[in-house]
Symmetry: C2
Subunit: 406 residues, 2 copies
């Protein structure tokens, strides 16, 4: 008797009919003799609708109250899934994040799990029940409800699977798994049979939104294999795990892209220790997520600092950066919002030279100008014009032979 | 500095604009120097919408899951009211029933409060915050969310006021207070300045739905005076308390009516000990609320048993009653759904004869036939044809001089 933890996203529970479909899918696992825990997101657009309501009563609601408000979305969907199961004759119980023992810090709207006290879940399983857990939410030591940020139901899934020592951790989604590239823009893209945590982390951070990066990190730390698969078609899916074979390690695994990139360049800053801190500490305090940071080599003690943010954060970032740039003696602060990025990812790049050169050559052959470059051990990212991202992804996918299953 | 506990119903928080109105009203009390705790119901039709959703996924959802589902309605409205206050510059915090320490038994959908552990509320008040509490809900010792039945936000209000030893307990509604009769059918009806707990309990049970009977009982037990007043116009309202003066005690205070009455008569039952139990125990187990019960004097050891239920429960009640009637040897079981009731209520009736006779005379003068009579120490109720209830209420209101303020 295996213990399965599954997660269904908002589109899988968007209405009564879809909720009943999820229930049937859960039952088929349960009738197979397995014990099943199900993590669910809020129904369809519920979270957005609640946020809209919040803005109607207050311009800038407190994060604590926003958490109290939006966390109700998952309470609704989880109790409805439990009712659907009950109605089909299978005893089920819904648990809030608090009841399922998801303990977090008090960082409202982006809380982090500090502990999972899953004894209630275990007790319900032992009583023969299917357990439905509200994703995305937890509770502080003060018993205040927190949420863990968009996509955080994935984190609930992996944390619960780790705490319960589950045999299988399944993430259901509307695509067949993790692809070599986004099939919407690269028609030859193929689903991968498996991918390492490290690679998936880069894929998730640099384009593919299927799994939340924090959930993957958690999977890596607790060595929880995560199967990403379609909730609509019966395909094997992609297994995210730690034991990818040598054979597939020795190559580029995936091309990731992101069209949501804006850039701010602080031009001509007198270079002295502390300028980066002076700029990025206030940005962090203003809750601006800064992505790539590049500082050009200093010439005559004058340097340029460039960083990228999501387009939606550009205005807020400029409001913070401009006065600081001025106070640092910079000559100007320039924003550019029409950018995107393209990345190649693969553990095989780690000890093999030449991948970067090949990538730059492919882009150059396509006449694509590179604005910024950033790399990790297993990833090379180029910031380019938004209008050329699709061409770049297609050319790289072909050049690194991701279209053939070899 | 007084401590005020207020309650606003669903129609007072039905949309963003109304929520802001509630916030302004709360602030005006707060700026007066008082500390304020606010209990809120779910927005407008939220509870009905959630119940509809439940029925779409399951024919007969479990009470535990229904509670988990519908209790989200008050979480939404309470966090929105807190946001609105925050947005107007007044620190506020919303608390779920569990956070506010409303402990109940595990009787889902009709749970009773067993304790109020209000230390969190007190702590937030001491920090200068306005505290918004989700009404209608509590939590079991197992940390499962319960609801306390329709209208139970009133119970939250009075229980919190008692626990916090509040100076004032205000129940806001869409009418000016408690009337001598329903002003929609008796045009001369007037709002009462005050009314005793006992009288109000009869009024609430026998027609007027403004306050939930259990909330009034709780007020009486803990001696919490409750001011019922309009959330739309600035009128003094009606004070429900224990110290009604002799002057007003000595008369009929209110005419109550109810159009939602159905009657079942079990005809010709062989009279022996235990027949009432045989009938009413199964009805209670089927969750049918039986109202008035009358057993006619036994003739030749044959008796008739008559009882009334809400019209919506008639079908269910008949399904339970018919086979039992048969097994008891009754000759038939007859249902009548076109009934209503009219009551006169007043502590003054307690030791004064003649009220019943006057009531029957008034009805007789109107040509109204009485089907059943039931009385308490301070109430006389007649079950009559539904079509004559309004005439009866108007005639009784006039006959007992409730239209004049003397």
């Amino acid at each position: 008797m295996a213990l399965i933890v599954q997660k269904y996203g908002g589109s899988s529970v968007a209405d009564a009919e879809k909720i009943k479909n999820v229930a049937r899918r859960v039952i088929s696992r349960w009738e197979h003799g397995d014990r099943v825990v199900v993590v669910v997101s809020a129904m369809g657009d519920t979270t957005d609708d609640l946020l809209k309501l919040a803005r109607q009563v207050c311009d800038s609601p407190s994060q604590r109250e926003l958490d109290a408000l939006v966390s109700t979305g998952e309470l609704v969907s989880s109790s409805l899934v439990a009712m659907a199961l009950d109605g089909m004759g299978h005893p089920a119980v819904s648990l809030s994040g608090a009841q399922a023992g998801i303990k977090t810090d008090a960082n409202h709207s982006r809380a982090k799990i500090v502990d999972v006290e899953s004894s209630r879940v275990t007790r319900e399983l032992e009583q023969g029940k299917i357990v439905i857990v509200a994703g995305f939410q937890g509770v502080t030591s003060e018993m205040d409800v927190t949420t863990m940020g968009r996509g955080a139901s994935d984190t609930t899934l992996v944390a619960l699977a780790a705490s319960l020592r589950a045999d299988v951790c399944e993430r259901f989604t509307d695509v067949e798994g993790i692809y070599t590239a986004d099939p919407r823009i690269v028609p030859d893209a193929r689903p991968l049979k498996d991918i390492s945590y490290e690679e998936m982390l880069e894929v998730a951070t640099y384009g593919n939104k299927v799994m939340h990066p924090r959930a993957i990190e958690l999977g890596a730390v607790y060595n929880v294999p995560i199967l990403v698969r379609s909730s609509f078609v019966d395909k094997p899916g992609t297994l995210i795990h730690g034991e990818v074979t040598m054979e597939v390690r020795n190559k580029v695994r995936s091309v990731a892209h992101d069209l949501d990139v804006a850039k701010i360049t602080v031009v001509g800053v007198p270079d002295h220790p502390g300028i980066a801190a002076a700029l990025f500490e206030p940005l962090a305090r203003a809750n601006v997520s800064v992505d790539t940071i590049v500082q050009n080599a200093s010439i005559h003690n004058i340097t340029d600092l460039t960083f990228t943010v999501a387009k939606s954060e550009l205005e807020k970032a400029m409001k913070v950066a401009e006065p600081i740039a001025k106070s640092l003696g910079a000559s100007s602060c320039i924003a550019d919002s029409k950018l995107g990025k393209v990345s190649i990812i693969g553990t095989g790049m780690q000890n093999t030279p030449g991948y970067a050169a090949r990538m730059f050559k492919v882009l150059s052959e396509q006449g694509i100008n590179i604005h910024l470059i950033s790399t990790s051990e297993i990833r090379i990212t180029c910031i380019i014009d938004e209008s050329r991202v699709k061409d770049a992804a297609r050319a790289l996918h072909k050049a690194f032979e991701l279209d053939t299953d070899k």
